[in-house]
């Protein structure tokens, strides 16, 4: 072994290397998004995932090795969700004004998200276990995987579909809302959190604090509502 290769073998197996790489790739991706004026199509999460994925493939690094470093970033998701309590507390008057719109939008959006995805997939003859994996795609990953498994789906496939849905939602929400002429940041944020869970909520917080707050509420409520109504909807779609 050459000294350089020995050093690589050592470094590539420590958490330090992959944590540092994750943060640097993120900083570059976020600068690119900033330089585009936060254009919705230039999504820093998507850029970072593609670059890091390419780096792992090119260096022959397994996800398990990568995650030893990246887990420190991943871990912060939990406290970050708890942190949404603060903007919720700050904007609670605005939330109280919108209880009825939120309740109606929650039911309508939750049913639409599940029925439209299942309808299209069923039309193309997608088999039952894959349908069950797809159904909770708009729900935050941990809850979605639990729901999918209960109906014979595959948790890992659900995770892939959930993250993809989040990225798609975060990218299309701004142009879609502009096209519909919707300027109410409460409504826009609520839609982002409902349809695209945490990744949509993250996008909403970048745009506006009120939008982020409503997105966080929608994400939390949709996890509960989907868990309750999905059994009824799947009953119609699964043979």
């Amino acid at each position: 072994m050459t000294p350089a290769f020995e050093l690589w073998v050592y470094l590539s197996s420590t958490p330090l290397l992959w944590l540092t790489v994750t943060l640097i790739v993120w900083i570059v991706a976020d600068r690119i998004a900033l330089a585009s004026g936060r254009h919705p199509a230039v999504n820093p999460v998507l850029i970072a995932i593609i670059v890091l994925g390419a780096v792992l493939i090119l260096t022959g690094t397994s996800f398990a090795t990568y995650f030893q470093g990246a887990q420190f970033v991943h871990f912060l998701l939990g406290p970050a969700i708890v942190a949404i309590a603060v903007p919720l507390y700050r904007n609670f008057d605005k939330v109280k004004e919108n209880l009825l719109p939120m309740a109606a939008a929650l039911i309508a959006g939750s049913v639409t998200a599940a029925v439209s995805a299942l309808g299209i997939a069923a039309l193309f003859g997608v088999p039952d276990p894959v349908l069950a994996s797809l159904a909770p795609k708009s729900v935050t990953a941990g809850v979605a995987m639990g729901i999918a498994e209960r109906f014979g789906g595959e948790a890992a496939l659900t995770a892939v579909l959930v993250v993809t849905t989040g990225l798609v939602g975060a990218i299309i929400v701004t142009p879609l809302m502009n096209a519909l002429g919707l300027r109410d940041y409460a409504a826009r944020g609520f839609a982002a959190g409902l349809a695209a869970h945490g990744i949509g909520t993250a996008r909403a917080f970048v745009v506006d604090e009120v939008a982020g707050t409503f997105a966080g509420i929608a994400m939390a409520l949709n996890a509960v509502v989907t868990a309750l109504i999905l059994p009824l909807i799947l009953y119609w779609f699964l043979a």
């Binding site: 912060l76 949404i84 309590a85 939008a105 998200a113 439209s116 349809a195 993250a202 996890a223």
Partner: protein, 127 residues
């Protein structure tokens, strides 16, 4: 900074205990969110915390910083998706079409129902 972070972790820990202990349909961090929210309301009776001043507190600054960078926190899980792309197999294009159309529909329906009900509500109040 450390106090704020410890408080967030404490809420999450209590949330996990409740979520798993009672088999709640909400994940631990979401229960933790509700606990912290309830805690803030309880706290304003004893200390000078208000919705207007919360952003200037240690907790306000720490949470503000964390939420500004919420997107970063999804990157490791996203990289995990690349590792599992082989699972998508031959149904990949159909599944992508389904979730693209469905996400657009869910976004539109949610936002339109929200603003529609809000307009109906304020119309009903003024008449």
């Amino acid at each position: 900074m450390i106090e704020a972070f410890a408080l967030l972790l404490l809420c999450q820990l209590a949330g996990e205990v409740l979520s798993h202990g009672f088999n709640l349909p909400m994940p631990g961090p979401v229960v933790g969110l509700l606990l912290l929210f309830a805690g803030l309301f309880a706290a304003q009776k004893f200390v000078s915390v208000t919705p207007q001043s919360i952003n200037d507190t240690l907790l306000g600054r720490a949470t503000g910083g964390l939420l500004q960078h919420l997107s970063l926190l999804f990157v490791p899980a996203g990289v995990g998706v690349i590792d599992h792309l082989s699972l998508v197999n031959s149904y990949g294009p159909v599944l992508f079409l389904a979730l693209l159309v469905s996400t657009a529909l869910a976004l539109a329906v949610t936002a339109l129902v929200f603003t529609g009900v809000k307009r109906w509500q304020s119309g009903g109040r003024s008449s």
